[in-house]
Symmetry: C2
Subunit: 441 residues, 2 copies
């Protein structure tokens, strides 16, 4: 058989592993593809660095464009927007299939890339872009193709999960947990992309697009990071039998006019400890998928790292190479459902609100009145005296709401802050994974 | 577009759901396939029964062979060996792609069916045959195609998992737990196929074949059911921080001559409570996959039921229909690795042995001597006095071994039974999910 020519763009942590696996597992890969995979070159920014790879040094090149023009399959692991986008488009125009792990680019410009791939009859695969090695996109796109996905709930950022897990298990504060994550290599020196939820938001956009056959842009994803999560928030969650997780959520929903819609968001949330996702520890990722017929599924595994990510990239390389050997392409993206994406204001969620209040009669009635005024129904209230004193003591009031539009909940919290009997709104967290009856869902 | 003609063989719990989804979700399915799916007929054994389906009654037929001859895609949900096998072979010879949920037939005669499909250039898909709706076979076959799977450890039978879970959480015995499972519909009136491990063994054969690209016949799967698991075994596991699960295990291994090999088995085993699979409750299924680059992955979801199984069947129908619309077929099975399957005797496992012994000096030395004579190294020993008395009291001795060939472990237990100081071997369970250092793995 004619070999399938594979060009590798980028040779960082993931690229190095991809090159190593292509070389050391060549025989098995050839058996799986039905033809040998020939690594025709590795585009790097600068030559001369020894990467300890068992490959011919002449394979390294700084001429990425030239490499792309001669390839059947282009593997893009440079990351970032440019030159990755131009190179991928050039590859597609040359008739090469593309495998990428580039979540930022896909979230920003996925539709243009999918369209180009469809137009030129080539594959564009990106399993590694979400949740590292966990086979997730292919099941969503293919295994559940005969079902109707209703909800995707994921822990898709290992750094924030490690930080929140440490806060939960040791009681430490956010800053200390981030420092520890940095010292262990789980967080970058500048952790913004992770702790502010940018990374998770890009993944949420990709997951939502696939799950609901709808184009979801990064700017349509409501994003809140974990920088505002305090040790007190984590303790409050524990008191409710919950754990705080940064969740990427995409759900089938109903718009204000009763129309089908989707809601896509990333924010920290309380999750009951009995929920499948609550037990996901450390830097692991897991994605919970709910579909009408299939029920509740969960996918769990390492969310990052050179080797796991390379495994996902190689799986895609085998798939697109097989398609080429067979003379076809795999199922492409399709946004036929084209559901509107609800703004966060219209998204239905539930809140857990902690208030520092004056400990005197009538406080609960006044607070409850504010919720009622905004049409928000209360599920549970707890009041705990904090200190007695002259002029009335202080108490903590915890209110858990039923589901309501986020705008109504936010407006309620705003108004509570202005109440004279409320010293401060000590904490607000959304609650997920609870059904209408308060059970784990 | 020309419609894709789908023939449904069988209309039981799964078939009814498949027919319902094909009808009610016709528009979405057409969008995903790129052509409408036309349900051309439903083969049943007897006409006239009202199944409450929103389909034209004239679609029902007893002429399965005639139906198969006119179909593009044949969905087989009759179950059992015949007539399912003949009908599937006939469909393949007619050039139709086949989707099946029939684990018994695949475990018994998979290779002949895969070969026929390859010869006639059609797809044979069977995601629903293992772990219901959990997308598992496609990830194994495709997503991990660029990786090397080292181990598959699964809870693939919901009935036995429910029974063991009840024994663990309530302390009840095996017989009582089975009765309860029967009364709740989780176990059949004759639970043999489940509790004796036949169902799990068929799934283990399918999983091992896919994971290791090797033909594994049902007769090569070592099988032990859970009928011998006592309340005392469950308590002993709890005392070790473990839970008893019926596991389907397929692992890459080394034969006695140092050659690459696989081991495939189904048996109850102790699993540390910290292991991902230990938390799988009730009738759920979960499969843990370990691969060299990807690391540890887990897939979790409902393992049975009409709707979840129908979801998996429909996912396959969409895939094979898409291939037909595109004029191709998906990646077929391939047994190129062709590794030898180790007999259980040569499989390396570890044992947890409970002995009722005389409580006197020298007992431990004698017992330890038997293990040593068979080359079995001991990891831990616990001795607990049960009753003092004239002529020496009685004690319970618990021995946990390091890994050793199963034959050596079995011979050790045989010899222990003959020791005068051993009243009885009270329990023997294998231990899984523990690494060489005793950690959770």
């Amino acid at each position: 058989m004619e070999p399938v020519k594979v060009a590798l763009l980028g040779c960082g942590v993931v690229g190095t592993e991809v090159a190593r696996l292509l070389t050391t597992q060549a025989d098995e890969l050839a058996a799986r593809v039905g033809a040998p995979l020939e690594l025709t070159g590795i585009a790097v920014r600068r030559l001369g660095r020894d990467r300890g790879l068992p490959v011919d040094p002449s394979l390294f090149t700084t001429d990425a464009e030239g490499l792309v023009a001669r390839a059947d399959v282009v593997v893009e692991v440079i990351g970032g927007i440019e030159p990755a986008r131009s190179l991928m488009l050039r590859a597609i125009e040359h008739g090469a299939s593309v495998v990428t792990a580039n979540k930022a680019l896909l979230a920003e410009d996925g539709p243009a890339l999918y369209e180009a791939a469809a137009k030129h009859g080539v594959d564009l695969y990106y399993e590694a872009s979400v949740a590292g090695a966990i086979p997730l996109l292919r099941p969503l796109r293919e295994s559940l193709a005969g079902d109707r996905v209703t909800r995707v709930l994921g822990i898709v950022n290992g750094t924030t999960n490690y930080v929140l897990d440490q806060m939960d298990s040791t009681g430490m504060g956010f800053a200390e947990a981030v420092e520890q994550a940095q010292s262990l290599g789980y967080a970058e020196a500048d952790p913004t992309a992770d702790v502010e939820g940018f990374d998770a938001a890009a993944k949420a956009a990709i997951l939502a697009s696939l799950a609901f056959h709808t184009r979801v842009g990064l700017d349509e994803v409501h994003r809140e990071g974990i920088t505002g999560v305090s040790a007190a928030d984590v303790r409050a969650a524990q008191a409710q039998g919950c754990v705080v997780k940064l969740l990427a959520i995409a759900e089938r929903s109903t718009g204000p006019g009763g129309e089908d819609a989707v809601s896509v968001r990333v924010h920290p949330a309380m999750l009951p400890r009995g929920h499948q996702l609550a037990g996901v520890r450390g830097a692991f990722n897991a994605v919970f998928v709910e579909a009408e017929a299939a029920g509740e599924l969960m996918f769990y595994g390492p969310g990052a790292g050179g080797q796991p990510t390379a495994s996902a990239v190689l799986g895609d390389v085998v798939a697109v190479a097989r398609h080429r050997v067979a003379g076809g392409r795999g199922p492409g993206e399709s946004a036929y459902a084209d559901l509107p994406v609800l703004p966060m204001d219209e998204t239905v969620t539930r809140y857990h609100v902690r208030l520092d209040v004056a400990d005197k009669p009538g406080v609960l009635a006044q607070v409850a009145g504010v919720f009622a005024a905004h049409g928000v129904s209360i599920e549970a209230v707890q009041q705990r005296q904090e200190q007695a004193g002259p002029g009335g003591g202080r108490a903590v009031l915890v209110v858990v709401t039923h589901s309501a539009p986020d705008a109504a909940l936010a407006a309620t919290v705003d108004e509570l802050e202005d109440l004279e009997i409320v010293d401060s709104v000590a904490g607000v967290l959304r609650v997920e994974g609870v059904d209408a009856k308060g059970g784990v869902a």
